[in-house]
Symmetry: C2
Subunit: 144 residues, 2 copies
Amino acid sequence: MLELDRFLPYLVNKLAARLSDELAAVYQKRFGITIAEWRLVAHLAEHKNVSIREIFVRVAMDKSKVSRAASRLELSGFVKKTINPADRRLIELQLTAKGRKLFEKIEPLALAYEREALSPLSAQDAETFRGLIYKLLASPPTAR
Amino acid sequence: MLELDRFLPYLVNKLAARLSDELAAVYQKRFGITIAEWRLVAHLAEHKNVSIREIFVRVAMDKSKVSRAASRLELSGFVKKTINPADRRLIELQLTAKGRKLFEKIEPLALAYEREALSPLSAQDAETFRGLIYKLLASPPTAR
DNA sequence: ACCATTTCATATCATATGAAATGAATTGTC
DNA sequence: GACAATTCATTTCATATGATATGAAATGGT
């Protein structure tokens, strides 16, 4: 008999929703940034000159969402969009100085939140947990 | 330095999105049911005569979503809504015979999907994983 | 070189979502 | 027992979302 409270897809979703909501509260209220925008900024902090496509392939958001997040970030001056001269269909996204500053401000808060969220687990359990998630994510997606 | 690919809220969300999408594909396409509706049905299969409020408190969906899911399920004949005679503000939801049949058809598919999703883990790892999620969910939500 | 196909980002549009408003019913207080 | 405050479900409304359409640019086959 299926019990919802033991059903893994449900549990993972519940946890994910909680982590997102709480984390969103951190930068939504303090920096006026959405989760989608935050992901984009965090990704650009690691990877320079990235196209929209590269982002939505890597960052688990669909095309429209990335495109819109990028436009908002451009408007607010955190990101610069340049047309790739070698292939004029592509856009190169990069953080502006203002964008880098934003990342530097949010980063420690995000890491602090992560620690706090994991605080019910021992350091060892936290590592185990991360490892198990990697394993699950690594396996190829089930047939669409 | 924060790396998105090691950042737990992001990873959990990514996994959750994948589990939801794949699972949704199972009952969306075969039974015309959304995730929200499925959760409601699954909850009602366990708990009889439940109010909207009880559901959204327990099932991690907001009021509107539960209310709308319940209305759709009523329309399609899977759920019966009755006004609680003792407190006429409350609604009692219960599965119809048709609703129970639906649950019985979906249940084994849902469990099969769960097994498949967990297949990259050993039986032991799967239990560990579930345990860790429980621990994380059990801890009181961080300050709103 | 030409045309069909593909790829990329954005725009469009219909639907989903959730916060706040609404209205009905109940409870508590004086 | 009246009436203010609260609780519950639904509705409303503005925004978010995502599937599809669009148009611009690049690629491949002949």
